[in-house]
Symmetry: C2
Amino acid sequence: MALIVQKYGGTSVGSTDRIKNVARRVAKWKNAGHDVVVVVSAMSGETNRLIDLAQAIQSIPDPRELDVVCSTGEQVTIGLLCMALIELGCPAKSYTGAQIRVLTDDAHTKARILDIDKDRIQDDLNSGKVIVVAGFQGVDAEGNITTLGRGGSDTSGVAIAAVLGAKECQIYTDVDGVYTTDPRVVPNARRLKTVTFEEMLEMASLGSKVLQIRSVEFAGKYRVRLRVLSSLTDPDLSIDEESQSGTLITFEDDGTMEAALVSGIAFNRDEAKVTMRGVPDTPGIAFKILDPIAKANIEVDVIVQNVGTDKKTDFSFTVHRNDLNKTLDILKPVQADIGAQDLVGDDKICKLGLVGVGMRSHVGVASKMFAALANEGVNIQMVSTSEIKITAVIDEKYMELAVRALHQAFELE
Amino acid sequence: MALIVQKYGGTSVGSTDRIKNVARRVAKWKNAGHDVVVVVSAMSGETNRLIDLAQAIQSIPDPRELDVVCSTGEQVTIGLLCMALIELGCPAKSYTGAQIRVLTDDAHTKARILDIDKDRIQDDLNSGKVIVVAGFQGVDAEGNITTLGRGGSDTSGVAIAAVLGAKECQIYTDVDGVYTTDPRVVPNARRLKTVTFEEMLEMASLGSKVLQIRSVEFAGKYRVRLRVLSSLTDPDLSIDEESQSGTLITFEDDGTMEAALVSGIAFNRDEAKVTMRGVPDTPGIAFKILDPIAKANIEVDVIVQNVGTDKKTDFSFTVHRNDLNKTLDILKPVQADIGAQDLVGDDKICKLGLVGVGMRSHVGVASKMFAALANEGVNIQMVSTSEIKITAVIDEKYMELAVRALHQAFELE
């Protein structure tokens, strides 16, 4: 008997039959005595259909209006799922982001959640209803509709779990948990029963598709217990730590984590590398380069600055591939302004990273990683490290080879 | 230089190309110096697609959740139209029914507008923006999403024109005005340059598809000048009484109406006839029959009660064909309760009516009508009259024949 928040993604609600199936699963939890709040995405394909409509009208759609259009996808799903629940005799009520005032900032298409009004949800839960909330969307302080960006429904789920003080937030996907790496690349990749928030965060930022990064940050910040589960297998209706379903994201001090040196290998090829060569090495130069990028709301990831010769330095960072051209356009005047020699972009890269809290107390992880890559003849273009992660940028074509070599070298099978 | 409200229906915004075309039309009005508020429907086919999704889950979808689903159709259109306007360099901003608080009662799927918050629209108009509002939708006092029922976007347009005190509300359709009757049935039907509100109301209630009836009532009540126009021809950008575009719906005391005996012939075959035979003729019997129907929110039209023999009477009325089975189900226990002999439904009927303010001061319209029908061998099943309308219910199969005969008899060519 607990309050749980469940989030179902676009594939899980991709047809009316699948929506009925989700309703049956939700009803099982409800009938087992739990209070259930469900957060859903748009039916798979729907968000792309809406974006296509928008782009047929404006190649770069007005962000405010794009959010108005795209937020309808989740709104359709909440209504349909409630109908399916009511049809099963399970009282249910839907809410859009606006209706429970999921308050966000005003950064259209990539807004951040600031607050949620829990009173209406709490009243409905008290009256025995299942609550179905549209993920991915909110409203700014002026009442304009905002969206959280791709994958934002995970964040909606976690945020609602946080404000309601839910026992667990369950993220249902088409995989049954978090793996040591992508099983499509390394067939003997292994499911992790638990993974720490910090590891999950580092893996998500490296492109592990299981959870949206902001949702993991949110869960860590508000200490929401998060579990990744498959929506295709039969649910285990217990929600204690002993449950063997999926992967539980744990807090380090739970003492339940696996004590591995390296927990997993994440990778992605969604990014591009931008390099400004021959930058005069004076204070404030990094700010001059990155500030206009940040102001354009472009997210920058790995940043590397090398000491150079003649008081010149090379400055590199990665951005999402979709933002590469925009980034180069923004930096051209900056290049002239600061007198840098050269500005180049490269979208044929892959970012990969080893993640593990065990790294903290062990040396030699980096050298073992570099050795494994060198053995396969893979050149490393950029390296960056954090407490529990080592990130390397390599040529895209070596991606699979590198991941397999590292998976074997760190005995993750 | 005036404030005008324009409403574009589903066909006018049925594709991204058509939406761009509407944007060009709207921009022309804006560039001619007018302030413009646009009300739009869902793209043609979209509402049906959403209802199909809902019915794949529940044969009779939960009304609250159906409104959540169906209201997304208009929301997509407002976003897309704003993008098209912005692309043309015309500043624009969209609003859902909830965002400008189109307050309605809580009769889901057929709600009535009670009030609209005009402040946000007025502020945006003052800053030079075109405002695009989602028709067909509102919110009840609790913030639940409601819809106004089919054709409700016309009502949204008129209601917004009323609260803003607009100079004119223009309803754009795929026909260029109101005709003496349906040109598909009578090829030489004639476009009316003006028609009075009362005539329009009577014609709408008889199934003339040009305007939704509630919108005409609303326009009459709040004295909104209403014009029906084609969205296919080039707009005449003047909005005074001399404009020759479309059909202007006039107030009788404008003195601009055509002094015809009969203005038009309306007809529909969307209705079904319900007859309770051998009803004991006691006071309150009509109430006993109609009250449960009204409570089920079923709209009743023509009602006829004939004096019978043996203190028994026959009681007939028409309802929408979709409501026939439900009506019969409701009346079965009533029949037993009041001791009526027989209860029959007939959905093979056609309702047709002559409409004209000229009727008031002329006698003989009814007898001329009956003669014309008798000449063609058409039997009249029910007759009902009002000040400016004569309605007859006939066998459906005579519909085209009867309409042509009456069009000729009253010299409407």
